[in-house]
Structure formats: C-alpha cells, structure tokens
C-alpha cells in the first residue's frame, strides 16, 4: 500500500507543496537548492507485470538533488545533480545479490518566463549502475528441473546522454519542476522518454541569505 502510494509521480510534488514556505516569488539567480525528485524511467517501455504488459509510467527512481542557478546573460545556467544514496534508495534484490542506482547530472539553460514559471532545456548525463554483490551461484527453477547460474559480483556502470525539456514553478524559496528526459535521440531504435518531477528548496542564496 505504502509503496503504491510512493510510486505515484505526484507524491513528491504534493508533499513539497505542503512544506513550501510562502515568502516572496521568482526563481533566484545564484541560488543553491536541495530537494527530492521522482523519475518515471522509460515511459511505456518496460513491464511491471507478469503478463509483460508495458507500464505507462515506467519504473520509479527516487533521488536527492542539488541545483544551482548561475546567471548567463538574461538566462540562467542551472546545473543539477540527482543521486541515489546506495544505502537509502538504491533498488535492491531480496537476496542482496545486486542493487541498482541511477545518478543524473544536467546542465540546462533556464529562462524565467514569469516570476512564477521558467522553462529549461539542456543535456543530461545519466550513470546507471548495477552493484553486484552476489556470493557465488544460485539454483533456479528450469521448469521440469533446476539449473545453477552465477550471481553478479561486480559493480558495472552505463553512462549515457539524454536531453532535458521542462519547466518549473517557483513560489518563494520553493521550486517544483517537471521535465521530460529524451534518451537515444540520435538513434533509430534506442529512443525513449522518462519524466522527472522535482521539488527543491533554496538553502543558500549567494549575495543574500534565504
């Protein structure tokens, strides 16, 4: 029940809206923000059902995040880092033979449309790590008999690039953002889309306190 509720994309958004302070408006240049994000990874591509039916929302990853807004001309360069502390939110197997974590680093260019709304786009590096911690072999069912297979023992990381398109809603020291991440955009076969919902708070305002 709890995990179903947590898997809803709007959960963090609602939570962060409830916690948001209400003093002042607008995204702040030179502001350092921390927050939480939920990524619906690869929409309508993978299954979460024994029938193999594709899940519209993909699979969920939860991140802690940092973002900074650096003024560049009349835009903001807004690099962000989202990471999953392995001990906290990495997706792990019941027998602890592997964990999966996803680290993402984006460098979008952000433009404040209004005091409340901003739009941003830019490249994103994604590091998808499978942490193997198996201790040997495992006997698995093979229908009418069993077979012995190996468990993963190392950590291996895939590094890929994606492109981010999205917008943010700013309210006081709080910013809620929704972004599309486009994977494999130059490929004829690897294209897919993820959605990232982020809630952040300003914790440090360069040149002025929060």
């Amino acid at each position: 029940m709890a995990s179903n509720f947590l898997s809803r994309p709007g959960f963090l958004l609602v939570l962060t809206l409830m916690l948001a302070p209400s003093n002042g408006f607008a995204a702040k240049p030179r502001a350092l923000e921390i927050g939480l994000s939920q990524m619906s990874y690869q929409l309508n591509t993978m299954t979460t059902s024994p029938t193999g039916k594709k899940n519209t929302l993909g699979t969920s990853f939860y991140h802690l995040g940092l973002q900074y807004h650096q003024p560049v001309s009349h835009y903001l360069w807004s690099p962000w880092l989202h990471f999953m502390p392995e001990a906290i939110s990495a997706i792990k197997s019941p027998n602890n033979s592997s964990k999966t974590s996803l680290l993402a680093f984006g460098t979008p260019l952000t433009f404040n449309m209004t005091p409340y709304l901003d739009l941003g786009t830019g490249p994103v590096v994604m590091r998808y790590t499978v942490h193997g911690s198996g201790k040997g072999t495992e006997v698995m069912n093979n229908g009418s008999s069993t077979l012995e297979f190996r468990q993963p023992t190392e950590s291996r990381t895939a590094t890929t690039l994606a492109w981010q398109l999205g917008g943010g809603f700013n309210y006081g020291n709080f910013r809620a953002a929704g972004d599309l991440l486009l994977h494999g955009i130059l490929s004829s076969k690897k294209r897919s889309v993820s959605v990232m919902v982020t809630g952040t708070w300003i914790v440090l305002q360069m040149g002025g306190g929060v």
């Binding site: 939110s89 592997s98 999966t100 460098t107 590096v125 468990q151 993963p152 690039l161 130059l186 690897k190």
Partner: protein
C-alpha cells in the same frame, strides 16, 4: 529547515522498502564483441521466423543503457549437431528442431532453449546457439504458440545466448515460465542484467545519444570530447551570441 530535514528522513525510510528480484548469469561476462549477428538455419523453420527474430532482437536493442548491437546475419547451413560437436562456422546460430528430445529438450514443455556455449579463458562467451521446438504434434511446438508469446520466448532465449541466466522476478522476461506472458517486454530486472553484461559508455567508445550504434559500424575513437562539448552547449549557446545582441538584451527591461 527542521521540517524539511524531517521529511527527508521519513521519505528516505520509506524508500528502503523498494525491492526487485535479481538476475543471474551464465558466466561472469558476455560476448567479447558488442556487434552480434544471429545466423538462422532455415531448415524446418516457419517462414516468418526472420521477422519474429528481428522483433525480438530489437526489444533488446531498444534499451538505452546497452552497448550491444544485435541483428540477423546471413543464413547458415550448420546443424545443431555440428554446434554441439564444436564444428562451428558462424555463431550464434538459430535452429528449428523436429526432434528436440535428441538435444534434451522436452517437446511437451520446452519451446526453445539456448545451448552450445563456449567460453574463453577470460570467461567471455565465444559461441552459442538457440534451438526452437518445431516437432509436429508436440504441445510446445512454436507453430502452436501465439505470436506475442513466441516473441517473448525468443527474447528470453536471446537473453540466455547473450549470457543471462534465469530470474526469480515473475515480471522479468528471464523468468523461467512464460505461462503468464501475454506481451513481449522487458522488466527492470532484465535491463539490469543485460546492462551488467554490456554497459553502454557514451563518454567512451559508444556513440552519443544512442547514435547510429544500432545501424552503423562500431566507432574506434572515444567520444569523451564530444560528450563534454554537448554538456557545455547551453553555456556556449549564450556566450557565442553576438556582442551587440547581448548588450541589447542587458539593456532591455526585465
């Protein structure tokens, strides 16, 4: 800040409940080459096997974190007996068997199986084959199986040929039993397993943004500089604008 800190702790504790079943492996590594062609021996095979195989291969090709590039190769006349005897012309190969019991496949239950593995001293797979059951009258004859389920079975067996073992995750295509499958698609556990064997690196040897990896030849030079330039593109886009335009922008009211 205190309520925020508390909310972080509460959410972090909730997140620890996420679990997924683990994949397993045939060996510790996959194939040495990431450009792998499957060669079909058409004898006894249904006419649409090539289409089904391409569909199954593309399900693995679509995973963004994979470096491996799978495709159908030229037809082969090699038999499964030759593969098992080790006299191999091309590999991996695909065979349709009218007597699957001869290679220890139970025709009543097993529609397909991976076999004929060879590994080098480094543990990398150097040979493998995919055998399909076409025995007339048998319950697991692939001709009697729904197309979507058959593609799912091919995806499963290709996973074995590439080095994945079975998974305890019922959602995974690598789960041993396809009885509940109605669609051919991958679960997170399948992606994890294949990423473990063939992790893509777009800052290294693999083309950026998926590139033409699935339709072109492998590149021999690293992409690191291209990747870094793409990351800095937003900054360059602004900094390289003409000075006059920037002045005009600065002087305009915000």
């Amino acid at each position: 800040m205190i309520p925020i800190t508390r909310s972080f702790i509460v959410i972090a504790l909730c997140l620890t409940s996420q679990t997924s079943a683990a994949f397993t492996l045939i060996g510790l590594k996959g194939w040495a080459s990431t450009d792998i062609q499957f060669h079909v021996n058409p004898q006894n095979c249904p006419d649409n096997l090539g289409d089904l195989l391409d569909e199954a291969l593309d399900i693995w090709n679509a995973v963004p974190t994979l470096s491996v590039n799978l495709s159908s190769g030229s037809d082969s006349a090699m038999t499964i007996e030759q593969v098992l005897a080790g006299t191999i012309d091309v590999t991996p190969s695909v065979h349709c068997l009218t007597d699957p019991a001869a290679v220890n496949m139970d025709p009543a239950y097993i529609p397909g199986a991976a076999m004929g593995y060879k590994m080098d001293d480094a543990g990398q797979i150097t040979a493998g084959a995919l055998a399909l059951n076409v025995q007339e009258g048998s319950a697991a004859n692939i001709a009697s199986i729904d197309r979507k389920i058959l593609v799912s079975i091919l995806v499963h067996e290709i996973g074995h040929v590439l080095g994945l073992g079975h998974s305890a995750d019922k959602n995974a295509v690598m789960y041993y039993n396809a009885a509940e499958k109605k669609f051919a698609s991958l679960a997170q556990d399948d992606v994890d397993g294949m990423t473990y064997l063939y992790a893509r690196n777009e800052f290294g040897e693999d083309p950026v943004f998926g590139g033409c990896a699935v339709i072109g030849a492998p590149q021999n030079h690293p992409n690191s500089w291209w990747s870094i330039l793409i990351l800095l593109l937003p900054v360059f886009a602004v900094r390289l604008r003409p000075r006059m335009v920037r002045k005009a922008v600065r002087s305009s009211p915000r």
